[in-house]
């Protein structure tokens, strides 16, 4: 860093410093705390965030640094500025001098200027552009003497635009139109899959999740809001209305039930239900989150920075942050575990909504000194920040008015930020790369006029489908993504858009595409979140006792956006492919490339199941290899590709012949996977008709846990074992146990082939160890009490044998003596899938499963190109 600054300073000496890049940040960092927008801490009436006063009073004399008192003070040895902290460095002083000597030019930040509709530029190659977007792109390319790329091949483009607009490969309705690009695009825009795809993009911003967050992370019902977003996109709800309903439907005249559901947007903030937390503290955090999120989503502003102090770089004072706070401070929700207020939609479903407080309950909003909610200062009234145009004339000064202000024609940011976000999803990068920051620290637009042309058009009708269609119809969008070494060197990041974008698919699309290609994907829209297959134990990381119970039927194969989203324990394959966990608003996902992704798409049973189904379909085809390519990549393989795939198929058959059981497992992969579908209770517990165990409350001596041990002199009785502090009618104790330890034994008979995936449903508040035929099968160091399924360890799973088996348990009380103790054991296992000796055909099919797994992992498959 030091050397970097030196280098920068050296440059600064040579040419006048740039105000935006060099001077504004320096002043912000070193001066504005006392000479900034914040009138309370302002010293000597001097502001250095604007310069009218400073130039009038001789603090800055443009062109003459020697006469400027600013320079005199920062170089004064006895009374230096700033008076505390380190002195300005020689380089910083030199930079200030050079800037003043060069005229002390300052400028408004581009993004705060009103949006003006720019003219469409003339170009030298008029036959390339298909619409105005292309004139802007081509104009820049011509300036750099770079030629645009040719159009992508038909099927490549068809796959690209289907993945972009619907998050899936094209469905049959779209495929029927593949020869007419515009009709094909229209079919995609009309598909219900369109709303699902763009809803997910929006839900990242809305920090949507199905749990409350923080430590306990309990379930909450807010999926009706998710469904509202899907419908809004499918119905092409204009973006201004989309905005107003989400932020303030409750304040609009006569809102419908649907409108009110939209306010769930800001009810996605987290709720802390941990014992002893101050509800007001977390209500306050939720309000701050709403302001920060609103600022980022609609205006690309980092307003959250101003909660403790005036924004260092952008025009939002500490006071103004709390004036924004005042708009959001009058809702009835207050970080209560019940998540009230809710809107009742049916007998079973209530969803979280915003509700304005009654007039007599209105809160006074105060500035929190240094952002601390325990040190409230001056009271403030709701107001929009002074740096932006005022509220629309007819708007009320409340949350509704604020929402209307966001989408007013005078707001310089909302339209720019929004079109930029849509553009980025389709074109691979934003015109402003820092989609989340349009402030002075954000990146400059690569095509400012194009951005404004799109924004000005969008402001006219706020028509999202029209905007998306405009982009995908452009020649710029349709370009081939192949890149020459020369172009790669000139423009590695594709800032010029001289080629089509090529990037890895989003987490959801990686999964959904695999399911779609396999013919597994359910088309069911809407409804409560679902629980597709997930590895055992992923949900056991927190105190929460909610269980992941694998969904039934088609709910196992719903689109990824319907997967239950738990903040503290997100669905693993989504996390590995960079999906956010809903803790904070995520404007853009940072795309990564890691070995964990490779492990996921190769080994995650969900992907493997897709491979099996895909192979089944392909194997019926005359040319299975070609069918695999067509199903996944929407194209025919080349001759070399075909040969390579067939070679892999042949080699895999050879491997499988050496281990036929693997072939048998592969052709029945899905059936084997869903062990829960074949579960059978081997030892019933107290919930039904508990079996009798042999038990002892004093040390039975060596060998007690082996199969051979003679337990005939032990007591006999069923669960519950233990005693309750208070009599509990619903769970009566059947076998009294009040000592420190308890020893249990039971014998069960099993037939070959043995069941699998043995687990013990156990209700207890104690710790325990389990042995199967003398083999240690489970150790539970006490983490929390409750009724849970405990999966036996690998040794334990293998210890069962045909014939008589003995399960032995040693229980050790965890809590204090006299505080109540209970133990109720059961045993459940999954009946085996009958695996036959594979036929010749099945060897071949099993090998196609492995090939399909390979095809699903190709770079091309994982990439939108």
């Amino acid at each position: 860093m030091r050397t970097f600054w030196l280098a920068l300073a050296a440059t600064a000496m040579a040419q006048p410093p740039d105000f935006q890049r060099d001077i504004r940040p320096l002043l912000a960092k070193r001066c504005l705390a006392c000479h900034g927008p914040d009138e309370h801490s302002r010293q000597a009436g001097l502001r250095l965030d604007r310069f009218d006063g400073a130039t009038k009073t001789g603090v800055i004399v443009p062109g003459r640094s020697a006469k400027s008192r600013l320079v005199a003070r920062v170089t004064n040895e006895k009374l230096p500025m700033p008076p505390t902290g380190p002195r300005l460095t020689a380089n910083e002083i030199a930079m200030l001098k050079n800037w003043i000597d060069a005229g002390a030019a300052s400028a408004n930040h581009w993004a705060y200027e009103k949006i003006q509709l720019p003219g469409v530029p003339e170009v030298k190659q008029p036959d390339w552009p298909r619409n105005a977007i292309d004139n802007f792109i081509l104009k820049t390319l011509e300036g750099q003497s770079v030629r645009p790329s040719k159009e992508a091949p038909r099927n490549t483009l068809a796959r690209r635009v289907a993945l972009d607009l619907t998050g899936l490969p094209p469905d049959a309705a779209a495929m029927a139109k593949i020869d007419n690009y515009e009709a094909y695009v229209d079919a995609l825009l009309a598909s219900p899959r369109f709303g699902e795809r763009w809803a997910k993009v929006w839900l990242d911003l809305a920090r949507y999740a199905d749990t409350q967050g923080y430590e306990k992370d309990n379930k909450r019902t807010i999926w009706p809001y998710r469904d509202w977003v899907i419908r809004a996109y499918n119905d092409n709800l204009p973006f201004d209305k989309f905005t107003i309903l989400q932020l303030a439907a409750d304040l609009t005249e006569d809102p419908s039930v649907d409108d009110l559901i939209a306010t769930g947007f800001h009810r996605n903030t987290m709720t802390n239900t941990e014992g002893g937390t101050d509800d007001e503290e977390f209500r306050d955090l939720a309000i701050r989150d709403r302001i920060a999120t609103t600022g980022q989503v609609w205006m690309g502003q980092t307003w959250g920075c101003a909660q403790c102090h005036t924004h260092k770089y952008d025009p939002l004072t500490h006071k103004e942050f709390y004036q924004l706070y005042a708009y959001f401070n009058q809702t009835a929700d207050d970080d209560h575990p019940s998540d009230r207020p809710v809107l009742k939609l049916s007998k079973d479903v209530s969803t979280l909504v915003l509700k304005e407080l009654d007039a007599y309950k209105r809160r006074t909003t105060r500035i929190y000194e240094r952002g601390n909610f325990l040190t409230p200062g001056e009271a403030v009234e709701a107001a929009t920040p002074a740096a932006f145009p005022a509220m629309p004339a007819k708007a009320q000064n409340n949350r509704l008015g604020f929402a209307q202000w966001l989408v007013s024609k005078d707001n310089p940011l909302t339209a720019r930020v929004t079109v930029n976000r849509f553009w980025s999803r389709l074109m691979g990068r934003g015109i402003v790369e820092s989609e989340e920051d349009f402030g002075t620290q954000g990146t400059a637009p690569t095509h400012p006029e194009l951005l404004d042309w799109l924004a000005a058009g969008f402001q006219k009708d706020w028509d999202v489908k029209r905007l998306l269609k405009l982009i995908v119809m452009s020649a710029a969008y349709r370009q081939d993504s192949a890149v020459t070494p020369a172009l790669l060197e000139k423009d590695p990041l594709n800032k010029l858009y001289a080629r089509g974008a090529r990037f890895r698919l989003d987490a959801e699309a990686v999964r959904d595409q695999a399911l779609a290609a396999a013919g597994l994907l359910s088309g069911k829209l809407y409804g409560p979140p679902v629980m597709p297959w997930q590895p055992d134990g992923v949900w056991l990381v927190t105190y929460n006792s909610d269980r992941w119970v694998t969904s039934q039927g088609e709910d196992r194969y719903r689109r990824a956006l319907y997967t239950f989203m738990r903040r503290s324990s997100a669905y693993p394959s989504m996390m590995n492919f960079d999906a956010p966990n809903g803790e904070t608003c995520t404007i853009r996902r940072i795309r990564t490339n890691t070995p964990l992704q490779a492990l996921t798409s190769m080994n995650d049973p969900a992907f493997m199941e897709a491979a099996q189904r895909l192979a089944e379909r392909a194997a019926k085809d005359a040319n299975p290899a070609a069918k695999l390519f067509e199903s996944v990549l929407l194209r025919q393989p080349s001759k070399t590709e075909l040969q390579r795939v067939q070679q892999l198929h042949a080699a895999t058959i050879a491997e499988l012949k050496a281990s036929p059981s693997n072939a048998a497992k592969l052709v029945k992969y899905s059936e084997v996977l869903y062990a829960e579908d074949r579960e059978s209770t081997l030892i019933p517990d107290a919930r039904t008709k508990p079996r009798e165990w042999r038990f002892k409350t004093s040390d039975p001596g060596a060998g007690w846990n082996t199969a051979e041990f003679n337990d005939s002199n032990w007591s006999a009785g069923p669960g519950y074992f233990g005693y309750f502090n208070k009599p509990n009618e619903s769970t009566p104790i059947k076998s009294a146990w009040d000592t420190d330890q308890l020893w249990l034994r039971i014998a069960i008979d099993l037939e070959a082939p043995l069941p699998a995936r043995f687990k013990m449903p156990i209700r207890t508040n104690s710790q325990f160890d389990v042995w199967v035929n003398g083999v240690h099968a489970l150790n539970n160091i006490f983490e929390r009490g409750g009724h849970f399924d405990y999966l036996l360890n690998d040794d334990g799973q293998r210890a069962f044998k045909p014939g008589r088996n003995v399960v032995a348990i040693r229980v050790t009380r965890h809590g204090a003596r006299g505080s109540g103790q209970v133990f109720d054991p059961g045993l459940v296992a999954s009946l085996p899938v009958k695996l036959n000796k594979p036929s010749r055909d099945e060897f071949s099919r099993a090998a196609w499963v492995v090939v399909a797994n390979t095809i699903l992992n190709l770079d091309e498959t994982l990439t939108r190109r």
């Binding site: 860093m1 030091r2 050397t3 970097f4 960092k29 430590e215 002893g276 325990l374 954000g442 990146t443 192949a482 790669l488 590695p492 990041l493 090529r502 890895r504 590895p535 055992d536 134990g537 990381v541 927190t542 105190y543 503290s568 966990n581 803790e583 904070t584 940072i590 990564t592 490339n593 890691t594 070995p595 964990l596 490779a598 492990l599 996921t600 190769m602 080994n603 995650d604 049973p605 493997m608 390579r644 795939v645 892999l648 080699a651 895999t652 491997e655 499988l656 693997n662 072939a663 048998a664 992969y669 150790n779 160091i781 929390r784 499963v849 492995v850 797994n853 992992n857 770079d859 091309e860």
Partner: protein
Amino acid sequence: MKQVLANTRRHFLQGGSLGLANLFLAEAQQKPARAGKAKSIIYLHMAGAPSQLELFDYKPELVKYNGKPCPDELLKGKRFAFIKGVPNMLGTPYKFARQGQSGAMMSELLPRFSKLADEVTIVRSMSTDQFNHAPAQLFMHTGNSRFGFASMGAWVTYGLGTENQDLPGFVVLTSGGNNPDGGKSLWGSAFLPSVYQGVHCRSHGEPVLFLSDPEGVTRSMRRKTLDAMKDLNAMERERSGDPETDARMSQYELAYKMQISVPKVMDISKESPETHALYGTQPGKTSFANNCLLARRLVENGVRFVQLYDWGWDHHGTSKRDDIEHALKPHIAECDQAIAALLTDLKQRGLLDQTLVVWGGEFGRTPMRENRGGTEGAFRGRDHHPYAFTIWMAGAGVKKGLNYGETDDIGYYVVKDKMTPRDLQSTILHLAGADPYTLHYPYLGLNQRLIGPTDEGRIMKDLLI
């Protein structure tokens, strides 16, 4: 991993794009690091913030004032998480004694670690500016109290790469039944390329999710699929000209190697009974002790940065479950044995000289007894206290038997040799062989650094050999 790194760098130099990274990396490319004294780092974070006043920072004056109301000047303008009104002072109920040549004062709760007083540098003058768990943990490990910044382990592996090509360079292990409050962001790579993010290894089931081949797929079948994938990807690479395809294939090869190397290193069952007795470890459990032993195995195998989070140190005293008696005592007993074992074991194996071990929480605990809701409960505990807390460091490049820094008579403020998280970060990077001031990554118009935008973080030369 080294190979991946080398590939990565080559692409950048060729002007290609890779993953999330951009061309700036070439410009930001770190000079070959000088050899750091610490080849590996083990960072033991006690999530929740253990009480320095019960463990390391002995305050007889505070004991004298036990039960007396807290003076007004200590409360004015202060924010506490839970303390309301005027709390009473709380002297520690535990005995302290001088230990070893260094004469370090340590609590009776640390019987084993006390014996290693002459191996460690104890810093009693840590001070932070965050007093809630998640922000304070984020500040400690990412240099920023908000979400979205790269973690220390990511910075270290970014700056220095890793020694073992078959294991991730940055491994995270958690215990205590919960992830730390700051969540997975504490080991994220944020704006740094994702190869530098921490890999969270589990001690139940597969150490890394989806590490095993699917049922029915053998390792030799997997090798053949990878070979086919490589050939098919090469054709796509030829068509597209995109170097990202090569990077993806490298990740698949690394994944293939990890399938063997990770389970091997994560299996502690082959360790000797003596070792298990030393640490208090039991194979198959999730425990801090197991993680300490795993940390030794990982650094032994060339992992650069091993980050442990042990949850459950937030002793507020609201109930028996979080007081400084019933809850702290058993927890510190497990911890005491494990940290003493780790240092002893590293030393016996000659690894301590090249491994930096850091232990600490995200802030300290108040000298006052917490009075949640304004009334004193039946159990004793302390609220969050950012102004003063204790950490210790040992191993590579760190002085042995040093007592550094002092707090006032009641342990409220630091009065001598204050050290901040930024100082600690600077010092750790320095020991690892990176220059904390120049190790940076350009992102969104700023040169991001672990130690933040200003140069206030100091390399604590006083602590170093």
